[in-house]
């Protein structure tokens, strides 16, 4: 390229920087949008891929209906391309927090699907666990607190029940995220409300049955090389799955045999045990009977003995009595004898005493005489002592004295004799009396003795008879005991027999069970069954779809704009082109100026656009999804593939348009080029032929209409620009409307209930009825119905979808709580006994319609076919409604687990109080207020407002660039015309009106078309970017149309203001000087 041309190009850019900028801006928008939105999906996939790789998320999961063993692990390890195989455990339990029964999935910390520590540390000991942050939404617990988890016992291979966990009271040591649960969806459970509320991780050594794995996770070799969800990845996973599928049969059989064997051994053991027990029992009974017989005999013997003893005692006592009677008689006669003797003795004593008394008086006399003698004697002595006494005297005296002495002797002897006699008499009396006394004593003592004898005899009699009585009572007791023993024995015999029969029945049952053991089924799954992952990948697909539509709009408009811009530029430079051509420059050289011009705009704009697009758009889109997924922040990548595709497309569009414009001129000869291009000829428009309209049009209107038809291309483009702008803004608002209408649609229109009460497990029907009655009695509550709700999987061909089955207790009650209407005819329907209703979105996902058949997998993993009566209206979640009878026929026994409650008109506060009141009831596990759900989801959905803002801003930029550009082209193309009317004396605002009348009309047309376009585009976008679990209503509020129109008009106005000043600046003289 010649230097002069380079200079010329640079100058050109300087001089026409507005045009250059507008092309640059178009490239910027086109490439930016294309690359940015396109990059979202790969960036999101890259983010989840990194996340999964960092945390060793499985590639394949194997589960079995009967558990998995180490040999299964070993077998899978041998499969080609399998890298690592992990057997691990998980089971659902119930954690009760603040009266809420939370269904909790208990996982094990392992090297696969590693939990991501957020706080605290990972569990090390049996009694520790880590939880997810959701737990703290239910209670204000903290790290260090303990929670208790109730888990159903599990059967070991011998059919014995053991607790699942060794420790079920666990200390929370940390908070984690799990790569298995990136969304709020925690999957289905057989417990409680049928949904898992939260997960927690325990250590592996807390598991009791470590040799039965609940699942096996497999990673594939070289998995680092593949990006999740890509075809390459899926193909690799599928090939490994196929290989595992090949060993599946053998493994299933092996497990079956293992189970049958261990069950058989257990059965045999049980049989032997039963037989032993039987013999033992028979022996025991025989022994007992023998003992009973012995007892009977013993009793008989004792009875005889007692009888004999009694008779003997009777006899003995009779003779003893006789003896005593005789003794008594003897005593009486002795007494009589004694009496006679007494009388006699007393007589004798009386006489003796009389004699004695006589003797005594004699004695007295004697004594007196003696005294006299003695005194005479003494006198004599005294006198003898007198010496003066003559011998005679003395002799006389001596004689007297001797006489006296003699006399004295004689008296004394008489006295002695008397005294002796008295003594003798007294002694006799004494003796007689003594004898009498003695006799009396003898009799008295014999009497006492006899009395004593009698007494002791009586005592002996008493004790003996008491003893006999006692013995007899004992005997009676023994007899009674024997009788009761007998009945007891009979009872025992019956019992034993019953027990034996029962045990035998159990054995038969066990035998049947063994016979019934079905070969286990393996399910070989991959990441596509993880609900969070699937919806994430689906969301990336939605964005990909948006990415496919929106940039097209921008590219189309960018191309059109560049085409007009460059065409007008080339046309403006016709003469220069002609001159260059005349000077001998070839087409390529001349065209290169314009190509360089366009390329520069394109490349600079494109690179700026993709940079900003890559940086911003994924982040903004991510802001919406961040609310729904627990994931690390999006990893932004500079995606060269999309960047260059965007740039190439933009370049092809813009440079192609330039080349077309340049070539259109270049084919002419220099002579033609150097002549001014003939202005476009005026033409009559069809409207003029309708004279009665045309005649009534104002002059200015006529001019406007004529002009519109004159510059068809440009005006078409203006319309397209406005159309695009309006459409995009309408789509923006439409998305917002669709999304914000979801909640009222679902929770006001479809779900009419105000509360969902989850019942505690294992309530009997009576308590449920009581609760319902209690609730119905509350004046705040209008209606209550009982529901069974459970998660399941709906299947049609190779498509599966997790759904919630809702089964009312009575078919006709459902309509009170849920507005069931056919999605197409809007006819309100009632549940049929033999067919199901399926919600709109799940029908779409499974590709089924009214009258089709789908399969629903029940909790035993059996697939049951069901006929769809109607596809019904629904906006949030996936539901299948069926009747109780159908549920029981295809799923499992019917047992309600929740209540739908509709309130009377009450205030928010009243409702809150009501729910507080109810959560306190012992039957209630948890309460979900519809209003709370709405508020919660509202927050999430609000994030979609970013989309609206992006759309409005980009639509605005688009509209501005398009209008501004077109208006510039319009002015420059018609500069002579405008200068002319200015010369004619049009005021500035008249000149402006001259142009703007056209713009206004075109804007109006563009807006009207934009409304339709927006409506259609909205429908398309809504259906492509719909989130898996939601049904967006394809609706746009009238006010949104108004806003869209106002915003478009606003942008048009800004451009018009700019135009006004451009028009004012038009230099009449320069413009009219000559035709260039």
């Amino acid at each position: 390229m010649k230097k002069a041309l380079v200079k010329d190009t640079i100058k050109e850019i300087k001089n026409t920087y507005k045009r250059f900028l507008s092309i640059l801006l178009m490239a910027f928008l086109g490439v930016g949008f294309f690359a940015g939105i396109r990059a979202c999906s790969p960036d999101m996939i890259h983010t989840i891929d990194q996340y999964f790789k960092e945390n060793h998320v499985f590639d394949i999961e194997v589960i079995s209906t009967l558990g998995l063993t180490n040999s299964d692990v070993e077998a899978i390890k041998k499969v080609e391309n399998v890298d690592k195989v992990y057997g691990t455990y998980s089971k659902d339990g119930i954690v009760t927090l603040n009266e809420n029964e939370l269904v909790t999935k208990v996982l094990c910390v392992d090297d696969i699907n590693k939990p991501i520590l957020k706080k605290g540390r990972l569990p090390k000991n049996q009694n520790e666990c880590v939880v997810e942050a959701i737990l703290f939404e239910y209670s204000n617990m903290n790290i260090g607190d303990r929670i208790k988890i109730d888990i159903e016992k599990v059967n070991n291979d011998n059919g014995k029940e053991v607790p699942y966990l060794k420790q079920n009271e666990l200390e929370i040591v940390g908070v984690v995220d799990s790569p298995l649960y990136i969304s709020r969806e925690r999957g289905a459970s057989k417990l409680g409300s049928g949904k898992v509320n939260l997960f927690l991780y325990v250590t592996k050594d807390n598991i009791n049955l470590t040799d039965i794995y609940t699942e096996i996770y497999v990673t594939m070799k070289n998995s680092k090389e593949y990006i999740t969800s890509t075809k390459q990845y899926e193909d690799n996973v599928d090939s490994i799955k196929n290989d595992i599928e090949k060993i599946k049969e053998d493994r299933q059989k092996a497990r079956y045999e293992e189970l049958v064997e261990s069950a058989t051994i257990t059965l045999e053991d049980a049989k032997i045990k039963l037989n032993n027990e039987k013999t033992e029992a028979t022996e025991k009974i025989a022994q007992a009977e023998q003992e009973m017989e012995n007892g009977k005999k013993e009793i008989e013997t004792s009875e005889n003995i007692i009888n004999i003893n009694k008779r003997k005692a009777d006899n003995e006592f009779a003779s003893a009595d006789a003896k005593i009677a005789k003794a008594k008689q003897q005593i009486v006669s002795g007494e009589n004898e004694l009496k006679t003797q007494e009388t006699m003795t007393n007589q004798k004593i009386f006489e003796a005493e009389k004699t004695r008394d006589i003797y005594k008086s004699n004695l007295n006399n004697i004594n007196n005489a003696l005294i006299l003698i003695n005194s005479n004697y003494n006198d004599v002595i005294e006198v003898l002592k007198n010496p003066n006494l003559s011998l005679e005297q003395k002799e006389k005296l001596e004689k007297t004295k001797t006489e006296l002495e003699k006399k004295k002797q004689e008296t004394e002897s008489t006295k002695n004799q008397l005294e002796d006699a008295i003594y003798k008499i007294e002694d006799g009396i004494k003796i007689a009396r003594q004898e009498l006394e003695n006799a009396r004593i003898v009799i008295a003592s014999s009497k006492t003795e006899l009395e004593q004898q009698e007494k002791s005899l009586q005592a002996t009699k008493n004790t003996t008879y008491a003893k006999i009585e006692e013995a007899r009572q004992e005997l009676n007791k023994a007899k009674e005991e024997l009788t009761s023993g007998k009945t007891e024995l009979e009872e025992q015999k019956l019992e034993v027999n019953e027990k034996i029969i029962e045990a035998e029945g159990k054995l038969i049952e066990a035998e049947e069970k063994i016979a019934d053991i079905e070969e286990p089924s393996w399910y070989i799954l991959d990441r596509n069954t993880n609900p969070g992952y699937v919806s994430f990948i689906q969301d990336t697909k939605s964005i990909e779809n948006i990415g496919a539509v929106f940039p097209v709009v921008f590219f189309v408009i960018a191309t059109l704009i560049s085409l007009t811009s460059m065409t007008s530029m080339v046309e403006e430079e016709r003469i220069q082109i002609g001159t260059l051509k005349a000077l001998g420059y070839n087409k390529r050289q001349i065209a290169s100026k314009y190509l360089i011009y366009a390329s520069l705009a394109c490349i600079i704009g494109g690179i700026l656009g993709m940079t900003l697009g890559f940086l911003l758009l994924p982040k903004i889109i991510w802001m919406m999804y961040k609310m729904m997924y627990t994931m690390p922040n999006i990893a932004i990548s500079f995606n060269f593939e999309y960047g260059s595709i965007g740039l190439i497309v933009a370049s092809v569009c813009i440079i192609g348009a330039t080349l077309y414009a340049a070539m259109k001129e270049l084919i002419h000869t220099p002579a033609v080029l150097m002549r001014p291009k003939a202005p476009k000829n005026g033409k009559r428009v069809f409207l003029e032929r309708i004279t009665f309209i045309w005649k009534h049009l104002k002059f200015s209107s006529k001019v406007t209409i004529r002009n519109i038809f004159r510059y068809k291309k440009r005006f078409l483009m203006t319309i397209i620009g406005i159309f695009g702008c309006t459409s995009l803004i309408i789509v923006g608002f439409g998305i917002k409307d669709s999304i914000s209408s979801i909640l009222p649609n679902q929770y006001e229109k479809v779900f009419n209930y105000d509360m969902q009460i989850n019942l505690k497990n294992s309530l009997n029907n009576e308590r449920k009825d009581d609760l319902v009655n209690k609730l119905m009695a509350n004046d705040k509550i209008k209606e209550t119905i009982e529901i069974k709700s459970t998660s399941a999987t709906a299947i049609n061909g190779d498509k599966t979808q997790d759904i919630q089955i809702i089964v009312p207790k009575n078919n006709e009650d459902l309509g009170k709580m849920i507005h069931i209407a056919d999605v197409k005819s809007h006819e309100v329907l009632e549940l049929k006994d033999d067919e199901i209703f399926i919600t709109d979105k799940v029908a779409q996902l499974l590709n089924v319609k009214n009258g089709d058949t789908i399969k629903i997998e029940n909790s035993d993993k059996e697939e049951k076919e069901l006929v769809i009566a109607n596809v019904i209206e629904n906006y949030v979640g996936h539901y299948v409604y069926m009747s109780k009878s159908l549920y029981e026929a295809t799923q499992e026994p019917y047992d309600t687990n929740l209540l739908y409650v509709k309130n009377n008109e009450i205030s928010e506060e009243q409702e809150e109080n009501l729910s507080k009141e109810m959560i306190g009831m012992s039957e209630v596990s948890s309460i979900t207020l519809t209003s709370t759900v709405m508020n919660m989801m509202d927050g999430t959905l609000n994030s979609l407002n970013y989309v609206v803002v992006i759309l409005i801003v980009s639509a605005g930029i688009l509209a501005f660039v398009v209008l501004y550009n077109l208006s510039n082209v319009n002015i420059s193309e018609r500069i002579r015309e405008l200068a002319t009317i200015k010369v004619l004396g049009f005021y500035d605002n008249e000149v402006y009106k001259y142009i703007s009348r056209e713009t206004v009309l075109l804007t109006a047309i563009g807006i009207v078309l934009g409304i339709f376009g927006g409506y259609l585009l909205n429908s398309f976008i809504i259906s492509t970017c719909e989130i898996n679990s939601l049904r967006f209503a394809k609706m746009i509020e009238p006010l949104s149309y108004v806003y869209s129109i106002l915003i478009t008009i606003g942008f048009t106005l800004i451009v018009n203001i700019v135009t006004y000043f451009s028009l004012k600046k038009i230099n009449m003289i320069e413009s009219l000087k000559s035709v260039e």
């Binding site: 005026g682 015309e977 010369v983």
Partner: protein, 233 residues
């Protein structure tokens, strides 16, 4: 005082660092109803003078008086009003709006004037009665220039300014146009200024102003203008 006075008018264009005086103290005057021809070589300042007189350009210094109005002192809006009501312009390249028929082109002008003439009558006057519903592209150059003249005079201006009206026309057609202008001036008693580099037509004018180097070098008064038909060149 004359109807039109051009006193010491200077118009300087700044071209980068160089100042070019397109008009360098130009002086002339024109009486009401005169047909004036301005002649001079290229770059002499004829068009600049005409533009200034037509209210399309401002002056650097000097006075311009039209019918006692100081045109040089007019503000933008007043200038437009001046153009609108007092001035009729005819250009070398007609400057018709291509998308409008002959009649509509005239109407474009009459729409905005208060005491305008009937477009159809004016068109009939310029001899285009039969062609007034034709678009410019369907008309010959001469016819287009007639339309342009009709558009200019339909406004009933005080001053009809023609910048090389025959520059793009062949001899015969050019003559017809000049005839039209001469007739109009005479019949309507309109003041008409015609710029031409063709000095040969000067005898048709009441006054001939010679321009050279931004000055009106010479002003000739022609007491007996000849009809254009009698002029050959």
């Amino acid at each position: 005082m004359s109807y039109i006075e051009f006193k010491n008018v200077v118009k300087t264009y700044e071209m980068g660092e160089i100042n070019i005086n397109a008009l360098n103290k130009a002086n002339f005057s024109i009486e009401k109803g005169e047909l004036v021809v301005i002649v001079g070589p290229s770059g002499a300042g004829k068009t600049t003078a005409l533009n200034i007189l037509g209210g399309m350009d401002d002056v650097t210094s000097g006075e311009v008086i039209v019918d006692e109005k100081r045109v040089d002192k007019l503000k933008n809006k007043e200038l437009i009003k001046y153009r609108r009501e007092d001035i009729g312009f005819v250009f070398q390249f007609y400057n018709l709006v291509q998308n409008l028929t002959a009649k509509e082109n005239v109407e474009l002008a009459t729409e905005i004037c208060n005491d305008s003439l009937n477009p159809e009558k004016v068109l009939a006057k310029v001899g285009l009665k039969a062609r007034m519903d034709n678009f410019p592209a369907q008309l010959s150059g001469g016819e287009q220039q007639r339309v342009a003249i009709a558009r200019a005079i339909a406004k009933n201006p005080k001053l009809l300014l023609c910048d090389e009206p025959t520059g793009a026309l062949d001899y015969k057609t050019g003559k017809q146009i000049l005839k039209l202008l001469q007739d109009t001036a005479k019949k309507e008693n309109m003041t008409v200024l015609i710029i031409t580099h063709n000095g040969a037509i000067a005898p048709m004018a009441d006054k001939v102003i010679h321009f050279k180097n931004g000055k009106s070098e010479k002003v000739e008064i022609n007491d007996h203008p000849v009809s254009i038909e009698e002029i050959e060149w």
